[in-house]
Structures are given as structure tokens and as C-alpha cells.
């Protein structure tokens, strides 16, 4: 029996593991130990983890087992190891943001989401690799080395939450937290063949999430099923007075809503997401998924989001402008890296930032500073803010007639490591289908919907109205139940 449980253990869902924990067939300590051992064995190939504190992690698992023994389980994911993207503060643990700038930094407090996961009994499992300060689409911008895609280790896992996606896809973690500013949860989820949710702006507190672009950032959830993702979303979402952009919306019982997919919906298909540049295999996999929903009794409707072609330009102005302001705090004075080359007080800023930030982060700070400078403010920044209004209006209008939209997540499957590093603009375009959702503040779910002829995962994006995560998670679950994709795993 033991062998049978262990064989498939790494790919069991949180829901299945909960049953095993409840019945006593396995303990949280056993489960966590196995995750740690697996990570030690295979992460040399993937580099999904920047660091982990084995003793602390096992202590949390022990506490969970003690609770369960006396019938005081805190939540359905009590005792489940959840990976933490290294951009979210966990008190007493390193917080590098994938940057040399924060090498050696120890977080002095918990993010709100971490506090809520503690209250739910989760095992906080490791500090997960990412593009530096969450800027990137391939996880090649980490000071701690690139992450490899578990399906083909010569390819990227996507970014910026590439480590989170690789860890979940390879069975190193059951679930993981990521962050999504323009696609950083959904795009790596698609490249790695797992489920990733970008919640509506305001649904999850950003307190303790190191800021990239504050008006777009959301903490997202990655897992191997929509149901698992719903359970983690349930735990961490909801209003928080420590984040003034957090919205006091009506929470649902997400796990229950997800299982109840009887209500037939109207699903919109925006033509602008299926044009030039979309790989034919990705296109046909997403179209097959749309046919599945149609055959299941949902109504499919062609819609138009005319502003889509302007979303990337608006995004790169708004996101870099906000990043240039947010990253001004890294000055070498109060925390983090300080250059030894600085000769005087002012030079500390220039040298520290020149040495401490990587190329892509500096590029974006420069771009953001440029668009905010007085001569470009109106022509670039203010104009981009107005275009954002138009993009949001587009979405609101379309959602008058539909409950959800289905699109591809990415124009292609995972590309080769090194393929796009010399051309930042080409790299930016990897997020062309995910960025508009952040600008509009809607929610989006990446769901595995096929494989390319080369054996690489393909994802579809299910987009929902703000604070209607339950609807897209239910659609994701309905698709997963009828397909085998969630039971397909990379050979490592």
C-alpha cells in the first residue's frame, strides 16, 4: 500500500492528498519530506527553487500533523506544501526577488497572504525562482540562474513566475503562489501545462508583495487543477485594510462553486486574439476547447475587443512608469545591496543601482523614467492611462453579453532558452494575450488544453468579470474533468 501511495504521490491533487491526510494513510511530515527529497533529486535540472529552509518547513508539517491528530484541522489545505514565489514576504525567510539587490535580505514581516496561509495551516515550502523583480517572460532574468521547463529542459518555463510553474508541473510542490502583472502566472502555467489564476485586481491583498507595477500586480495561484487553485484562492483572497487597493467584494465558497458547473454560460470568442502571429497548433487546440464547451451546451458568441492591438504599448508605458517609481526605494542605504565602489553619498545611488539591478530591470526603470519625464508625460504616460480606460470599456461592453471569454494564453508554446534574450521587444510580445486582462482589471485562468506535435503543453485562457473567479474556475474544472491533460506529467 505504501508503495502504491508513494508512486503517484507527487502528482496527487491537494484534494486527494487531503483525503490521505485525513485517513492517516500519510502524514504532512511524510508528504513534506518526500517533496523535499524530490526537490533535492531533480531541481538540479530545473532550478525552480532559490532556497528552502528544511527544518522550518518540516516544523510546520509537524504542527499540522499535531493539529489533525486532535481534530483541529484549519482548512482543506492544512499540511499541504505550497511553494512561495520569492517576491512575497515570509517573516524570517530570505526575500531576493531574483535580484542581487536583495541577496541576503531577510523579510521582517509576513505578507497578508502568508498570514492567511499560516491561519489555514499550509506548509510554506521554499523560496521559488523568478525573473528579477517579476520582470520577464522566460525566467532568464534571475540573478540565481534561469529555470528550465520540466517538459523540455532546453526550453523556458515562461515568466516571471517560471519557478512556481516548473515546481508544480514537476511535482516539487502541490500548489504555488506567483504574481501576475501582465501574464506572469498565466503564461508560465500555459508553458508548463498546469492551471494558473490571475485574480481580479483588488481580490488578493498586495501587502507584503514586493511591488513591480502597483496598479496591475496581483498575487496568483498555480496548481494542477482548477479545484486546487480555487481552494488556495479561497484561503488568501478577500479584503485587507493593509492594502488600500484591496476591494471588499462578496466571497463565494469557491471549491463548491467550481464543482457546480451545471449552469450553461455564454462564452465570447474575441477575434482579435486569433490573428497573425498565433501558432497554428495553439490556435487549433484552443478552437477544439471552444468546440468542447459548445458541445457541452454553452452558447458561443463571436465578439470584438477593438483596442487589443494597443494593449501592449499601453502596458509597457504604465508598468515601467510604476516600476521606475517603486524601484526607487532600492538605494543602497536602508537595506539590500550597497556598492563598495561609491566614493560619496550621491554616488551610492548610481553605483548601487548600476551594480545591483540586472539588465532587464534597468531597461524598464529607464523606460519608465523616460515616459514620466516632463516632456513625455502627456504623449506617453497620460495617453497610456487614457488608452487603459478605452481597453476597460471594451471589456465592460463585451461582458454585457457574455459570462466569460476564451482565448489562447500565449502565441506559441515554450521557446528555447536564449532564443529571445537579445530582442526585448520580441520577449515582451510573449504576453500579448494576457496583458489586456491586467489593464482592464478582470480575472483570467490558464487551463491546459492540448499538446503540440513536439510534446509541449498548450494553454487556453478563460477570462471572467471582476470578482467572478468562481465562474472561470468552474469552466476550467468542467474542461479538466472531460480531458486527461491534468493526468499528463513530464518525464524527469
Amino acid at each position: 500500500m505504501e508503495a502504491e501511495i508513494n508512486d503517484g504521490l507527487f502528482y496527487k491533487s491537494a484534494a486527494e492528498l487531503e483525503k490521505l491526510l485525513n485517513s492517516g494513510e500519510i502524514s504532512s511530515v511524510e508528504l513534506t519530506k518526500k517533496m523535499i527529497d524530490r526537490t533535492k533529486a531533480i531541481d538540479g535540472k530545473l532550478n525552480a527553487f532559490i532556497s528552502f529552509d528544511e527544518e522550518k518547513t518540516l516544523d510546520e508539517a509537524k504542527e499540522s500533523d499535531a493539529r489533525r491528530k486532535v481534530g483541529k484541522k484549519l482548512s482543506p489545505i492544512d499540511g499541504i506544501p505550497v511553494g512561495i514565489k520569492d517576491v512575497i514576504s515570509e517573516c524570517g525567510q530570505p526575500l531576493t526577488c531574483g535580484s542581487k539587490m536583495l541577496e541576503g535580505y531577510i523579510a521582517p514581516y509576513d505578507a497578508t497572504v502568508i498570514g492567511r496561509m499560516r491561519d489555514a495551516g499550509c506548509v510554506l515550502w521554499g523560496r521559488i525562482n523568478m525573473d528579477e523583480f517579476a520582470m520577464g517572460s522566460s525566467n532568464e532574468n534571475s540573478h540565481y540562474g534561469p529555470v528550465a521547463n520540466p517538459w523540455d529542459t532546453t526550453r523556458v518555463p515562461g515568466g516571471s513566475s517560471g519557478g512556481s510553474a516548473a515546481a508544480v508541473a514537476s511535482g516539487e510542490a502541490v500548489l504555488a503562489l506567483g504574481s501576475d502583472t501582465g501574464g506572469s502566472v498565466r503564461q508560465p502555467a500555459a508553458f508548463c501545462g498546469i492551471v494558473g489564476l490571475k485574480p481580479s485586481y483588488g481580490a488578493v491583498s498586495r501587502y507584503g508583495l514586493v511591488a513591480f507595477a502597483s496598479s496591475l500586480d496581483q498575487i496568483g495561484q498555480l496548481g494542477r487543477s482548477s479545484e486546487d487553485v480555487a481552494t488556495l484562492f479561497q484561503v488568501i483572497s478577500g479584503h485587507d485594510e493593509n492594502d488600500s487597493s484591496s476591494y471588499n467584494f462578496e466571497k463565494k465558497d469557491y471549491a463548491a462553486e467550481v464543482r457546480n458547473f451545471q449552469r450553461k454560460k455564454t462564452i465570447g470568442v474575441p477575434k482579435e486574439f486569433f490573428g497573425d502571429g498565433l501558432d497554428s497548433e495553439v490556435k487549433s487546440a484552443v478552437e477544439d476547447a471552444i468546440s468542447f464547451y459548445e458541445n457541452a451546451g454553452h452558447k458561443i458568441k463571436d465578439v470584438h475587443l477593438e483596442m487589443t492591438e494597443y494593449a501592449m504599448a499601453a502596458y509597457y508605458i504604465i508598468a515601467t512608469a510604476e516600476a521606475s517609481a517603486n524601484l526607487a526605494r532600492f538605494d543602497g542605504i536602508r537595506y539590500g545591496y550597497r556598492s563598495n565602489a561609491a566614493q560619496n553619498a550621491v554616488d551610492i545611488y548610481y553605483r548601487t543601482r548600476g551594480e545591483g539591478f540586472g539588465a532587464e530591470v534597468k531597461r524598464r526603470i529607464m523606460l519608465g523614467t523616460f515616459v514620466l519625464s516632463s516632456e513625455n508625460f502627456e504623449s506617453h504616460y497620460l495617453r497610456a492611462q487614457k488608452v487603459r480606460t478605452l481597453i476597460r470599456r471594451d471589456f465592460m461592453r463585451v461582458f454585457d453579453d457574455v459570462d466569460a471569454l476564451i482565448t489562447p494564453v500565449t502565441p506559441t508554446t515554450a521557446f528555447k532558452i536564449g532564443e529571445k534574450t537579445s530582442d526585448p521587444l520580441q520577449m515582451y510580445l510573449a504576453d500579448i494575450y494576457t496583458v489586456p486582462i491586467n489593464l482592464a482589471g478582470f480575472c483570467g485562468l490558464s487551463v491546459p488544453c492540448g499538446f503540440s506535435s513536439g510534446g509541449l503543453p498548450i494553454g487556453m485562457q478563460v477570462i471572467g468579470k471582476p470578482f467572478h473567479e468562481h465562474e472561470i474556475l468552474a469552466l476550467g474544472n468542467e474542461f479538466e474533468r472531460a480531458h486527461e491533460f491534468k493526468n499528463m506529467h513530464p518525464a524527469l
Partner: protein, 100 residues
Amino acid sequence: MESDKNSKHSMDIDRVAMLARIHFSDGEKKELARNFDSILKFLGKLLEVNVDGVEPSAHAVPLYNVMRGDESGETLPRELALGNAPKKRDNQIIVPKVVE
């Protein structure tokens, strides 16, 4: 529509680097100039959009001026707050001399 002369499709790297407080090597500056050439052209696409009479949106959630009560709460203990300072002494951060 705003006139095209306001929109710059090239960047004065030295000036922006000064504003951003980042030191770059000459090699890095060359690379940036090459990158920004194509990136700024791409961003110029927004000039096609008619934004007359459109209000800018700072974010996507209908929340404005969120305030909390002016009550003191818990703060980080000094030791923790200074825990990550690169150089410190006697509960203070050490920096190079500011006034010569």
C-alpha cells in the same frame, strides 16, 4: 489629439540615467540605445488612438481616497527594521559623509 512633436522616439540615455540614478558602462549605454530604438517606435503606436475627451484611469477598481483612522498601531521593532541595513552602528544606518 496631442501634436506629434511632443512625442520623442529617441532617448537621451545620459539624461534619463541621471534621473533614474543608475550608473551605466559605455557598453550598456550602446545596448540600451539599440533596444530603445525599436521599443520607442513600438510605443509610438498609441499616437494612432483618438483619446479626445477620455479620462485617464490610474487603476481598474472603483476605489478612491481610501483612508484609515489616524490611530497609532504596531510598528516594526527597531532591531528588525535595521536588520537588513548594509552598514549600521548604535541603532543607526551608516552612510558616507554628505557634507565635505
